[in-house]
Amino acid sequence: MSSIQELNGRKGRIITDQDAREVSRVEELSYDLKVSETMTREVKTVSPAQPLSSVLEILRVGRISGVPVLEDGKLVGVLSIEDIVHAMEKNDLEAPVRSYMSAGVFSVYTHDPIVKAIESFSEYRVGRLPVVDVNGKLAGIITKGDITRGILTALQKDYKVEELRVYRASHLFEDITSDRTSLILRYNIKARDYINGGQASSHIKRALLRLGASPQLARQCGIAIYEAEINLIIHSNQGGIIRVQIDPHRILMQTTDNGPGIKDVNLALTAGWSTATQEAREMGFGAGMGLVNIRRCVDRMELESTYGKGTRLLMEINLSDGERFKESV
């Protein structure tokens, strides 16, 4: 993919998954960010009785294009530079603010998502909106410029955090020099914990992606370890341990528990065979397909069990040349 991008140069750039993710992140942010996070807090206000000529001075000095109009602390309108231009056309700058302001103001709440403000801008055809708190008291003002700045700041923050994580993790094997470097992740899994079940697998999948694994590889590992994690939750007496060893050339995943153990390992490996409880079935498990699925996702699977003692499941995925984690030279 990267070589195609280079061939096309910057102008003919292909939209990659990464780009698409960033576009939708802007949409997401317009729901995530609150008006209070991007608005301007220090607001100049005017009163309805004040002459327009004095407002002109406030706008000029503050380099702003409009002000909220307050009467007894209550928001009663907005006066914009366009309103003043109208007054100027009629040579009426000594008229009070009241006669030229837009009354019956549209405002947004501090707790509204910024998408609400964006919608209101186009709906009411205004360039700025007063912001009020839950009690209707003026808390600030928001413009399109404030929103652009807010989204850019948030994107930059996002980008830095995740980019830094991926960068740090993906260079792990390169940055450390040894004859053989491995990364080991361990998770303790509780029996019958259906609510938090899958969390360890979710962390493992994310770790692999950050280390630079392809989405396909991360999905294969994720599915295999998730099925194995659910097996610990459903079947083990006291829970068990997940151990994932990441080598530059392979991924070795293992679950162990202290019982009850499997009576007939061959039967357990048969598609559709299940000993799951009613509780597990209600959660959508116990189809008897777990081990079958695991086998399809990995290169080697070993199931060792002694009834009355415990079970060990080993899953190995060998990485092809293109998939290998980069090592120091």
């Binding site: 259906y194 609510i195 396909q216 599915i223 079958v292």
Partner: protein, 123 residues
Amino acid sequence: MNVEQMVKIVNGTVLTPGVSLSREIKGGCGADLMSDVLASIQPDAVLLTGLCNIQVVRTAQMADVRAIVFVRGKVPAPETVQLAAEENIPLITSPFGTFELCGRLYRAGLKSFETEIPSENNV
């Protein structure tokens, strides 16, 4: 089709307002057993299910499922919705049952991602 177009076809209501609906869906799968979902390891699917618990979201996350549609107007618990929002997986509830939903989406050109259970020989 993308998630947003799919929502229209199923007369759906989106339960995760902050999650983007722009991602492409390439196929579908209808299942109440999570291992059946995990058996179709092709990415970019929509999952139609009657199951409403948190493991549906975990399963979707593992299998790179792009959207989950709950059948017959079912609505999952807030924890499930919250996890889906964190993992950026849109949740949709539709008034139709699984049979009708499959029909609608299949007619709209969506492929089936459901696969046969592998026999012992070709595992």
